[in-house]
Protein backbone atom coordinates (compact mmCIF):
# COMPACT_ATOMS: atom_id res chain seq x y z
CA UNK A 1 0.00 0.00 0.00
CA UNK A 2 1.48 3.30 -1.10
CA UNK A 3 1.97 6.10 1.43
CA UNK A 4 2.11 9.40 -0.39
CA UNK A 5 3.64 12.43 1.32
CA UNK A 6 1.56 15.59 0.97
CA UNK A 7 3.61 18.78 0.67
CA UNK A 8 2.75 21.60 3.06
CA UNK A 9 1.70 24.95 1.60
CA UNK A 10 4.30 27.70 1.61
CA UNK A 11 4.52 29.75 4.84
CA UNK A 12 3.74 32.73 2.60
CA UNK A 13 0.37 31.25 1.63
CA UNK A 14 -1.39 32.90 4.58
CA UNK A 15 -2.39 36.50 3.91
CA UNK A 16 -5.41 37.91 5.74
CA UNK A 17 -4.57 41.28 4.18
CA UNK A 18 -5.22 39.93 0.69
CA UNK A 19 -7.94 41.99 -1.05
CA UNK A 20 -11.26 40.27 -0.54
CA UNK A 21 -12.38 38.24 -3.57
CA UNK A 22 -15.79 38.30 -5.25
CA UNK A 23 -16.83 35.02 -3.63
CA UNK A 24 -16.21 36.30 -0.11
CA UNK A 25 -17.95 39.58 -0.93
CA UNK A 26 -20.97 37.57 -2.08
CA UNK A 27 -20.86 35.54 1.12
CA UNK A 28 -20.74 38.79 3.13
CA UNK A 29 -23.73 40.07 1.17
CA UNK A 30 -25.69 36.89 1.90
CA UNK A 31 -24.83 37.09 5.58
CA UNK A 32 -25.87 40.74 5.67
CA UNK A 33 -29.19 39.69 4.13
CA UNK A 34 -29.59 37.20 6.98
CA UNK A 35 -28.34 39.64 9.62
CA UNK A 36 -31.08 42.16 8.74
CA UNK A 37 -33.64 39.57 9.80
CA UNK A 38 -32.04 38.97 13.19
CA UNK A 39 -33.41 40.65 16.32
CA UNK A 40 -31.42 43.82 17.06
CA UNK A 41 -29.52 42.36 20.00
CA UNK A 42 -27.82 39.79 17.76
CA UNK A 43 -26.68 42.20 15.05
CA UNK A 44 -23.08 43.25 14.56
CA UNK A 45 -21.89 46.80 14.30
CA UNK A 46 -19.65 46.04 11.33
CA UNK A 47 -20.01 48.30 8.31
CA UNK A 48 -19.79 45.81 5.45
CA UNK A 49 -19.22 48.43 2.75
CA UNK A 50 -15.86 49.15 4.37
CA UNK A 51 -14.65 45.53 4.13
CA UNK A 52 -11.55 45.48 1.95
CA UNK A 53 -9.47 42.49 3.07
CA UNK A 54 -10.01 38.79 3.55
CA UNK A 55 -9.33 39.16 7.29
CA UNK A 56 -12.02 41.82 7.63
CA UNK A 57 -14.48 39.65 5.72
CA UNK A 58 -13.58 36.66 7.93
CA UNK A 59 -14.35 38.64 11.08
CA UNK A 60 -17.81 39.62 9.80
CA UNK A 61 -18.52 36.09 8.54
CA UNK A 62 -17.74 34.67 11.98
CA UNK A 63 -19.77 37.24 13.90
CA UNK A 64 -22.93 36.78 11.84
CA UNK A 65 -22.64 32.99 11.64
CA UNK A 66 -22.33 32.85 15.43
CA UNK A 67 -25.21 35.32 15.81
CA UNK A 68 -27.51 33.22 13.60
CA UNK A 69 -26.65 30.13 15.63
CA UNK A 70 -27.11 31.99 18.93
CA UNK A 71 -30.49 33.39 17.87
CA UNK A 72 -31.73 29.92 16.94
CA UNK A 73 -30.21 28.44 20.11
CA UNK A 74 -31.92 31.03 22.30
CA UNK A 75 -35.24 30.53 20.52
CA UNK A 76 -34.95 26.79 21.06
CA UNK A 77 -34.15 27.28 24.75
CA UNK A 78 -37.17 29.60 25.15
CA UNK A 79 -39.36 27.08 23.37
CA UNK A 80 -38.23 24.33 25.75
CA UNK A 81 -38.75 26.62 28.76
CA UNK A 82 -42.26 27.49 27.58
CA UNK A 83 -43.06 23.83 26.99
CA UNK A 84 -41.79 23.00 30.47
CA UNK A 85 -43.96 25.68 32.07
CA UNK A 86 -47.01 24.42 30.16
CA UNK A 87 -46.33 20.85 31.23
CA UNK A 88 -48.82 20.06 34.01
CA UNK A 89 -47.38 19.08 37.37
CA UNK A 90 -48.89 15.99 39.08
CA UNK A 91 -50.74 18.18 41.61
CA UNK A 92 -52.29 20.42 38.93
CA UNK A 93 -53.39 17.34 37.00
CA UNK A 94 -55.01 16.04 40.12
CA UNK A 95 -56.78 19.40 40.68
CA UNK A 96 -58.09 19.43 37.12
CA UNK A 97 -59.52 15.98 37.64
CA UNK A 98 -61.14 17.15 40.87
CA UNK A 99 -58.85 15.02 42.97
CA UNK A 100 -57.28 16.50 46.04
CA UNK A 101 -54.13 15.17 47.60
CA UNK A 102 -56.34 13.52 50.17
CA UNK A 103 -58.42 11.72 47.61
CA UNK A 104 -55.26 10.61 45.84
CA UNK A 105 -54.01 9.24 49.07
CA UNK A 106 -57.33 7.57 49.79
CA UNK A 107 -57.20 5.96 46.45
Amino acid sequence: MAVIPVPKPSPKAMDPNRPVNALLLAQVEHLQHAERRLPLKYRTEIYTHAIRTEGEAALYIREVTEAIRAAHGDAEANRSKAAQSRKPSPSSTAKRKGLSNKSQKRK
Binding site: M1, A2, V3, I4, P5, V6, P7, K8, P9, S10, K12, A13, M14, D15, P16, R18, N21, A22, L23, L24, A26, Q27, E29, H30, L31, H33, A34, R37, E54, G55, A57, A58, L59, I61, R62, T65, E66, I68, R69, H72
Partner: protein, 408 residues
Amino acid sequence: MSEGLNQLKHIVVLMMENRSFDHMLGSLSAVDPRIDGVTGQFTNPDTTGAAIKPQPSADFQGQLDPDPDHHFPAVDLQIFGGDPARVANMQGFIKSYFNQRRDVAHSQKIMYYFTQANLPVLTTLALEFAVFNRWFASIPGPTICNRAFAHYGTSFGRVDMNPFDVIEPFKSIYTRLINNAPQHTAKVYYYDTTSSTMEVVNLLQNQPQLFGTYLQFQEDCASGNLPDYSFVEPNYNDHETDSGEEVASDQHPDHDVQAGEQFIAEVYMRIRSNPRLWASTALLVVYDEHGGIFDHVPPPACTPDKFSAPANSTGTGMAFNFDRLGVRVPAILISPWIPKNTVVSDRVFDHASIPATIAKFFSCDDFQISPREAAADVFIEPNSANVDPARNLLSLDVMRNDCPEFSM
Protein backbone atom coordinates in the same frame (compact mmCIF):
# COMPACT_ATOMS: atom_id res chain seq x y z
CA MET B 1 -26.62 -7.50 -6.23
CA SER B 2 -23.39 -5.68 -5.60
CA GLU B 3 -21.43 -6.17 -2.38
CA GLY B 4 -20.11 -2.59 -2.58
CA LEU B 5 -23.65 -1.19 -2.77
CA ASN B 6 -24.77 -3.57 -0.02
CA GLN B 7 -22.07 -2.20 2.26
CA LEU B 8 -22.60 1.46 1.34
CA LYS B 9 -24.13 3.46 4.21
CA HIS B 10 -22.60 6.93 3.88
CA ILE B 11 -22.07 9.28 0.96
CA VAL B 12 -19.76 12.27 1.42
CA VAL B 13 -19.41 15.11 -1.10
CA LEU B 14 -16.46 17.50 -0.85
CA MET B 15 -16.97 20.49 -3.14
CA MET B 16 -13.89 22.58 -3.88
CA GLU B 17 -13.70 25.90 -5.73
CA ASN B 18 -13.02 27.22 -9.20
CA ARG B 19 -10.62 24.99 -11.12
CA SER B 20 -11.20 23.35 -14.49
CA PHE B 21 -10.58 19.71 -15.40
CA ASP B 22 -7.71 20.43 -17.79
CA HIS B 23 -6.06 22.77 -15.25
CA MET B 24 -6.02 20.14 -12.47
CA LEU B 25 -6.14 16.73 -14.17
CA GLY B 26 -5.24 17.53 -17.79
CA SER B 27 -1.70 16.19 -17.32
CA LEU B 28 -3.05 12.68 -16.73
CA SER B 29 -3.82 12.04 -20.39
CA ALA B 30 -0.08 11.45 -20.76
CA VAL B 31 -0.29 8.72 -18.10
CA ASP B 32 -3.57 7.19 -19.23
CA PRO B 33 -4.87 8.17 -22.68
CA ARG B 34 -8.40 7.28 -21.62
CA ILE B 35 -8.36 10.41 -19.44
CA ASP B 36 -9.52 13.28 -21.65
CA GLY B 37 -6.92 15.86 -20.67
CA VAL B 38 -4.51 18.18 -22.38
CA THR B 39 -2.85 17.29 -25.67
CA GLY B 40 -0.66 19.32 -28.00
CA GLN B 41 -3.60 19.90 -30.34
CA PHE B 42 -5.47 22.49 -28.32
CA THR B 43 -4.93 26.21 -28.62
CA ASN B 44 -6.66 29.47 -27.81
CA PRO B 45 -6.01 32.71 -29.72
CA ASP B 46 -4.61 35.62 -27.76
CA THR B 47 -5.54 39.17 -28.67
CA THR B 48 -2.66 39.43 -31.17
CA GLY B 49 -4.03 36.39 -33.02
CA ALA B 50 -1.26 34.03 -31.88
CA ALA B 51 -2.36 30.45 -31.13
CA ILE B 52 -1.41 29.68 -27.53
CA LYS B 53 -1.11 26.09 -26.32
CA PRO B 54 -1.76 24.91 -22.76
CA GLN B 55 1.49 24.87 -20.75
CA PRO B 56 2.32 22.73 -17.67
CA SER B 57 3.34 25.88 -15.81
CA ALA B 58 0.61 26.43 -13.25
CA ASP B 59 1.72 27.78 -9.87
CA PHE B 60 0.12 27.11 -6.51
CA GLN B 61 -0.49 30.79 -5.86
CA GLY B 62 0.19 34.25 -7.25
CA GLN B 63 -0.39 33.48 -10.91
CA LEU B 64 -4.13 33.95 -11.44
CA ASP B 65 -4.38 37.45 -10.07
CA PRO B 66 -6.80 39.04 -10.71
CA ASP B 67 -9.25 36.22 -10.14
CA PRO B 68 -10.32 35.15 -13.66
CA ASP B 69 -13.83 36.33 -14.48
CA HIS B 70 -16.38 33.52 -14.34
CA HIS B 71 -19.63 35.42 -14.29
CA PHE B 72 -22.17 34.45 -16.89
CA PRO B 73 -21.14 36.85 -19.73
CA ALA B 74 -17.43 36.02 -19.31
CA VAL B 75 -18.09 32.26 -19.41
CA ASP B 76 -20.25 32.80 -22.49
CA LEU B 77 -17.22 34.41 -24.18
CA GLN B 78 -14.94 31.60 -22.97
CA ILE B 79 -17.22 28.89 -24.39
CA PHE B 80 -18.30 30.52 -27.66
CA GLY B 81 -15.19 32.61 -28.30
CA GLY B 82 -17.35 35.50 -29.50
CA ASP B 83 -18.49 33.43 -32.49
CA PRO B 84 -21.67 35.05 -33.92
CA ALA B 85 -22.89 31.59 -34.98
CA ARG B 86 -22.61 30.57 -31.32
CA VAL B 87 -20.73 27.36 -31.83
CA ALA B 88 -19.23 26.18 -28.53
CA ASN B 89 -15.56 26.21 -29.59
CA MET B 90 -13.81 26.91 -26.22
CA GLN B 91 -11.77 29.62 -27.92
CA GLY B 92 -12.46 32.60 -25.66
CA PHE B 93 -10.46 31.92 -22.49
CA ILE B 94 -7.48 34.18 -23.25
CA LYS B 95 -9.72 36.89 -24.73
CA SER B 96 -11.80 36.85 -21.56
CA TYR B 97 -8.79 37.02 -19.23
CA PHE B 98 -7.20 39.78 -21.33
CA ASN B 99 -10.28 41.94 -20.66
CA GLN B 100 -9.33 42.12 -16.99
CA ARG B 101 -5.70 43.34 -17.12
CA ARG B 102 -5.19 44.07 -20.83
CA ASP B 103 -1.81 42.38 -20.64
CA VAL B 104 -1.20 39.88 -23.44
CA ALA B 105 1.51 37.85 -21.66
CA HIS B 106 -0.51 37.64 -18.46
CA SER B 107 -3.71 36.63 -20.28
CA GLN B 108 -1.95 33.53 -21.63
CA LYS B 109 -1.58 32.15 -18.10
CA ILE B 110 -5.22 31.12 -18.21
CA MET B 111 -3.98 28.18 -20.36
CA TYR B 112 -1.59 26.87 -17.68
CA TYR B 113 -2.15 23.49 -16.07
CA PHE B 114 -0.56 21.55 -13.21
CA THR B 115 1.85 18.68 -13.69
CA GLN B 116 1.00 15.36 -12.08
CA ALA B 117 3.89 15.80 -9.64
CA ASN B 118 2.49 19.13 -8.47
CA LEU B 119 -0.83 17.63 -7.39
CA PRO B 120 0.04 14.30 -5.73
CA VAL B 121 -3.28 14.04 -3.89
CA LEU B 122 -5.80 14.81 -6.62
CA THR B 123 -3.94 12.93 -9.36
CA THR B 124 -3.38 9.88 -7.15
CA LEU B 125 -7.07 9.74 -6.26
CA ALA B 126 -8.00 10.13 -9.95
CA LEU B 127 -5.73 7.23 -10.96
CA GLU B 128 -6.64 5.00 -8.02
CA PHE B 129 -10.43 5.34 -8.12
CA ALA B 130 -13.03 6.62 -10.64
CA VAL B 131 -12.36 9.83 -12.55
CA PHE B 132 -15.17 11.38 -14.60
CA ASN B 133 -14.26 12.64 -18.09
CA ARG B 134 -17.60 14.43 -18.46
CA TRP B 135 -18.58 16.11 -15.20
CA PHE B 136 -19.62 19.69 -15.94
CA ALA B 137 -20.62 22.64 -13.79
CA SER B 138 -24.41 22.94 -13.85
CA ILE B 139 -24.42 26.50 -15.21
CA PRO B 140 -21.89 28.43 -17.32
CA GLY B 141 -21.59 30.87 -14.45
CA PRO B 142 -20.25 31.49 -10.94
CA THR B 143 -20.20 29.74 -7.57
CA ILE B 144 -23.48 30.41 -5.77
CA CYS B 145 -25.85 29.28 -8.52
CA ASN B 146 -23.69 26.24 -9.25
CA ARG B 147 -23.61 25.20 -5.60
CA ALA B 148 -27.41 25.62 -5.53
CA PHE B 149 -27.64 22.75 -8.01
CA ALA B 150 -25.73 20.53 -5.58
CA HIS B 151 -28.15 21.38 -2.77
CA TYR B 152 -31.48 21.65 -4.64
CA GLY B 153 -31.05 20.27 -8.18
CA THR B 154 -31.83 23.75 -9.51
CA SER B 155 -30.77 27.36 -8.97
CA PHE B 156 -34.38 28.60 -9.24
CA GLY B 157 -33.58 30.61 -12.36
CA ARG B 158 -30.45 32.34 -11.03
CA VAL B 159 -27.18 32.58 -12.97
CA ASP B 160 -25.45 34.96 -10.57
CA MET B 161 -24.09 35.37 -7.04
CA ASN B 162 -27.09 37.14 -5.50
CA PRO B 163 -29.14 35.69 -2.65
CA PHE B 164 -31.93 33.52 -4.00
CA ASP B 165 -35.16 32.15 -2.59
CA VAL B 166 -36.10 28.51 -2.60
CA ILE B 167 -39.26 28.13 -4.67
CA GLU B 168 -41.74 25.42 -3.79
CA PRO B 169 -42.23 22.59 -4.43
CA PHE B 170 -38.49 21.96 -4.67
CA LYS B 171 -36.68 21.22 -1.42
CA SER B 172 -33.04 20.81 -0.52
CA ILE B 173 -31.67 17.29 -0.50
CA TYR B 174 -31.12 17.67 3.28
CA THR B 175 -34.77 18.53 3.94
CA ARG B 176 -35.84 15.62 1.77
CA LEU B 177 -33.60 13.19 3.67
CA ILE B 178 -34.63 14.25 7.17
CA ASN B 179 -38.34 14.40 6.27
CA ASN B 180 -38.35 11.10 4.44
CA ALA B 181 -39.99 7.94 5.74
CA PRO B 182 -37.85 6.21 6.79
CA GLN B 183 -35.94 9.21 8.06
CA HIS B 184 -32.33 9.69 7.04
CA THR B 185 -29.58 11.85 8.47
CA ALA B 186 -27.75 14.65 6.67
CA LYS B 187 -25.29 17.35 7.55
CA VAL B 188 -23.41 20.21 5.92
CA TYR B 189 -19.98 20.51 7.49
CA TYR B 190 -18.51 23.98 7.04
CA TYR B 191 -14.89 24.40 8.02
CA ASP B 192 -15.53 26.66 11.03
CA THR B 193 -17.72 29.63 11.85
CA THR B 194 -15.13 32.04 10.42
CA SER B 195 -15.31 30.27 7.06
CA SER B 196 -19.02 29.40 7.35
CA THR B 197 -21.07 28.24 4.39
CA MET B 198 -21.92 29.42 0.89
CA GLU B 199 -25.59 28.55 1.45
CA VAL B 200 -26.47 31.17 4.03
CA VAL B 201 -29.81 32.57 3.04
CA ASN B 202 -31.91 29.44 2.89
CA LEU B 203 -30.07 26.72 4.78
CA LEU B 204 -27.99 28.38 7.51
CA GLN B 205 -30.55 31.09 8.22
CA ASN B 206 -33.50 28.71 8.52
CA GLN B 207 -32.00 25.34 9.43
CA PRO B 208 -28.76 25.90 11.36
CA GLN B 209 -29.22 22.49 12.96
CA LEU B 210 -28.16 20.98 9.61
CA PHE B 211 -24.66 22.39 10.03
CA GLY B 212 -21.56 21.12 11.76
CA THR B 213 -17.91 22.13 11.66
CA TYR B 214 -14.97 20.27 10.17
CA LEU B 215 -13.88 19.45 13.72
CA GLN B 216 -17.21 17.71 14.19
CA PHE B 217 -16.70 15.89 10.87
CA GLN B 218 -13.38 14.60 12.23
CA GLU B 219 -15.07 13.42 15.41
CA ASP B 220 -17.97 11.86 13.52
CA CYS B 221 -15.54 9.96 11.30
CA ALA B 222 -13.57 8.69 14.29
CA SER B 223 -16.68 7.59 16.20
CA GLY B 224 -18.40 6.16 13.12
CA ASN B 225 -21.31 8.57 13.55
CA LEU B 226 -21.20 10.13 10.12
CA PRO B 227 -24.68 10.92 8.77
CA ASP B 228 -26.08 9.07 5.76
CA TYR B 229 -25.21 12.10 3.64
CA SER B 230 -22.49 14.69 4.35
CA PHE B 231 -21.63 17.76 2.32
CA VAL B 232 -18.20 19.17 3.25
CA GLU B 233 -17.14 22.76 2.56
CA PRO B 234 -13.46 23.78 2.58
CA ASN B 235 -12.05 26.83 4.37
CA TYR B 236 -12.92 29.84 2.20
CA ASN B 237 -10.63 32.42 3.82
CA ASP B 238 -7.31 32.94 5.60
CA HIS B 239 -7.90 33.57 9.29
CA GLU B 240 -6.41 33.21 12.75
CA THR B 241 -7.88 30.97 15.42
CA ASP B 242 -6.89 30.20 19.00
CA SER B 243 -4.96 27.21 17.65
CA GLY B 244 -3.08 29.18 15.00
CA GLU B 245 -3.29 30.18 11.37
CA GLU B 246 -5.95 28.65 9.12
CA VAL B 247 -4.98 28.94 5.46
CA ALA B 248 -7.85 28.94 2.95
CA SER B 249 -8.14 25.44 1.50
CA ASP B 250 -10.84 25.99 -1.14
CA GLN B 251 -8.31 26.43 -4.02
CA HIS B 252 -10.22 29.48 -5.26
CA PRO B 253 -7.70 31.70 -7.08
CA ASP B 254 -5.59 33.19 -5.56
CA HIS B 255 -5.71 30.79 -2.59
CA ASP B 256 -2.94 28.26 -2.27
CA VAL B 257 -3.62 25.06 -4.23
CA GLN B 258 -1.37 22.99 -1.94
CA ALA B 259 -3.52 23.93 1.06
CA GLY B 260 -6.45 22.45 -0.85
CA GLU B 261 -4.46 19.32 -1.67
CA GLN B 262 -3.79 18.93 2.03
CA PHE B 263 -7.49 19.37 2.86
CA ILE B 264 -8.60 16.78 0.28
CA ALA B 265 -6.05 14.34 1.71
CA GLU B 266 -7.28 15.13 5.26
CA VAL B 267 -10.92 14.39 4.42
CA TYR B 268 -9.92 11.17 2.63
CA MET B 269 -7.71 10.01 5.51
CA ARG B 270 -10.38 10.74 8.13
CA ILE B 271 -12.67 8.29 6.36
CA ARG B 272 -9.85 5.92 5.42
CA SER B 273 -8.60 5.68 9.03
CA ASN B 274 -11.81 4.16 10.38
CA PRO B 275 -11.98 0.67 8.83
CA ARG B 276 -15.75 0.26 9.25
CA LEU B 277 -16.43 3.71 7.86
CA TRP B 278 -14.02 3.20 4.96
CA ALA B 279 -15.84 0.03 3.94
CA SER B 280 -19.24 1.72 4.03
CA THR B 281 -18.54 5.18 2.58
CA ALA B 282 -18.22 6.70 -0.88
CA LEU B 283 -16.49 10.09 -1.20
CA LEU B 284 -17.03 12.39 -4.18
CA VAL B 285 -14.44 15.15 -4.66
CA VAL B 286 -15.77 17.71 -7.13
CA TYR B 287 -15.27 21.40 -8.04
CA ASP B 288 -18.17 23.84 -8.23
CA GLU B 289 -17.09 25.50 -11.49
CA HIS B 290 -14.04 26.13 -13.64
CA GLY B 291 -13.20 29.61 -12.34
CA GLY B 292 -12.62 31.05 -15.81
CA ILE B 293 -9.68 28.67 -16.44
CA PHE B 294 -9.17 26.84 -19.76
CA ASP B 295 -10.80 23.53 -20.55
CA HIS B 296 -11.04 22.04 -24.03
CA VAL B 297 -14.36 20.13 -23.88
CA PRO B 298 -17.43 22.09 -25.09
CA PRO B 299 -20.23 21.82 -22.53
CA PRO B 300 -23.15 19.91 -24.00
CA ALA B 301 -26.79 20.94 -24.28
CA CYS B 302 -29.03 19.53 -21.55
CA THR B 303 -32.67 19.26 -20.52
CA PRO B 304 -33.99 22.79 -19.84
CA ASP B 305 -34.96 23.58 -16.28
CA LYS B 306 -38.42 24.68 -15.14
CA PHE B 307 -36.96 28.15 -14.63
CA SER B 308 -35.31 30.55 -17.04
CA ALA B 309 -33.09 33.58 -16.54
CA PRO B 310 -34.47 36.62 -18.39
CA ALA B 311 -32.29 38.52 -20.88
CA ASN B 312 -31.85 41.43 -18.47
CA SER B 313 -30.30 39.18 -15.80
CA THR B 314 -27.71 37.21 -17.77
CA GLY B 315 -25.48 40.08 -18.93
CA THR B 316 -25.40 38.66 -22.47
CA GLY B 317 -28.62 40.26 -23.67
CA MET B 318 -30.04 36.78 -24.18
CA ALA B 319 -32.32 34.76 -21.93
CA PHE B 320 -30.95 31.46 -20.61
CA ASN B 321 -33.18 28.41 -20.23
CA PHE B 322 -30.65 26.30 -18.32
CA ASP B 323 -30.35 24.15 -21.41
CA ARG B 324 -26.53 24.03 -21.55
CA LEU B 325 -24.09 22.87 -18.90
CA GLY B 326 -21.14 24.88 -17.60
CA VAL B 327 -17.45 24.19 -18.20
CA ARG B 328 -15.99 20.80 -17.23
CA VAL B 329 -14.62 20.36 -13.70
CA PRO B 330 -12.60 17.65 -11.91
CA ALA B 331 -14.72 14.96 -10.25
CA ILE B 332 -13.48 11.78 -8.58
CA LEU B 333 -15.51 9.08 -6.84
CA ILE B 334 -13.61 7.24 -4.10
CA SER B 335 -14.45 3.91 -2.46
CA PRO B 336 -12.53 0.69 -1.79
CA TRP B 337 -15.18 -1.07 -3.90
CA ILE B 338 -14.19 0.80 -7.07
CA PRO B 339 -11.65 -0.90 -9.37
CA LYS B 340 -8.31 0.90 -9.56
CA ASN B 341 -7.94 3.26 -12.51
CA THR B 342 -11.62 3.52 -13.46
CA VAL B 343 -12.34 6.16 -16.12
CA VAL B 344 -15.98 7.12 -16.70
CA SER B 345 -16.11 8.44 -20.24
CA ASP B 346 -19.43 7.80 -21.89
CA ARG B 347 -21.80 9.43 -19.40
CA VAL B 348 -22.49 13.11 -18.64
CA PHE B 349 -22.83 14.44 -15.08
CA ASP B 350 -23.35 17.80 -13.47
CA HIS B 351 -24.05 18.97 -9.91
CA ALA B 352 -27.74 18.06 -10.24
CA SER B 353 -26.36 14.50 -10.25
CA ILE B 354 -25.59 14.98 -6.54
CA PRO B 355 -29.15 15.32 -5.19
CA ALA B 356 -30.33 12.90 -7.90
CA THR B 357 -27.90 10.25 -6.64
CA ILE B 358 -28.54 10.85 -2.95
CA ALA B 359 -32.33 10.88 -3.35
CA LYS B 360 -32.36 7.68 -5.40
CA PHE B 361 -29.85 5.81 -3.26
CA PHE B 362 -31.68 6.63 -0.03
CA SER B 363 -35.13 6.15 -1.65
CA CYS B 364 -36.43 9.67 -1.09
CA ASP B 365 -39.03 9.27 -3.80
CA ASP B 366 -41.95 11.30 -2.44
CA PHE B 367 -40.60 14.75 -3.26
CA GLN B 368 -40.95 16.79 -6.42
CA ILE B 369 -37.67 17.38 -8.22
CA SER B 370 -36.60 19.86 -10.88
CA PRO B 371 -36.51 18.81 -14.55
CA ARG B 372 -32.71 19.14 -14.43
CA GLU B 373 -32.43 16.80 -11.44
CA ALA B 374 -34.89 14.36 -13.04
CA ALA B 375 -32.69 14.22 -16.15
CA ALA B 376 -29.36 14.03 -14.29
CA ASP B 377 -27.36 10.80 -14.33
CA VAL B 378 -26.47 9.18 -10.99
CA PHE B 379 -22.90 8.32 -9.97
CA ILE B 380 -23.98 5.63 -7.50
CA GLU B 381 -26.67 3.21 -8.56
CA PRO B 382 -29.64 2.61 -6.27
CA ASN B 383 -29.07 -0.76 -4.58
CA SER B 384 -31.53 -3.25 -6.03
CA ALA B 385 -31.62 -6.80 -7.30
CA ASN B 386 -31.25 -5.65 -10.88
CA VAL B 387 -28.30 -3.26 -10.71
CA ASP B 388 -26.79 -2.80 -14.14
CA PRO B 389 -23.15 -3.95 -13.74
CA ALA B 390 -22.10 -1.70 -16.61
CA ARG B 391 -23.23 1.37 -14.68
CA ASN B 392 -22.25 0.35 -11.17
CA LEU B 393 -18.91 1.91 -10.24
CA LEU B 394 -18.71 0.13 -6.86
CA SER B 395 -18.43 -3.12 -8.72
CA LEU B 396 -15.79 -5.19 -6.91
CA ASP B 397 -16.84 -8.42 -5.19
CA VAL B 398 -14.07 -8.01 -2.63
CA MET B 399 -12.97 -4.76 -1.03
CA ARG B 400 -9.56 -3.48 -2.09
CA ASN B 401 -6.75 -3.49 0.44
CA ASP B 402 -4.27 -1.61 -1.73
CA CYS B 403 -5.80 1.86 -1.52
CA PRO B 404 -3.28 4.67 -1.01
CA GLU B 405 -2.63 6.56 2.19
CA PHE B 406 -1.43 10.12 2.55
CA SER B 407 0.99 11.34 5.19
CA MET B 408 0.81 14.98 6.25
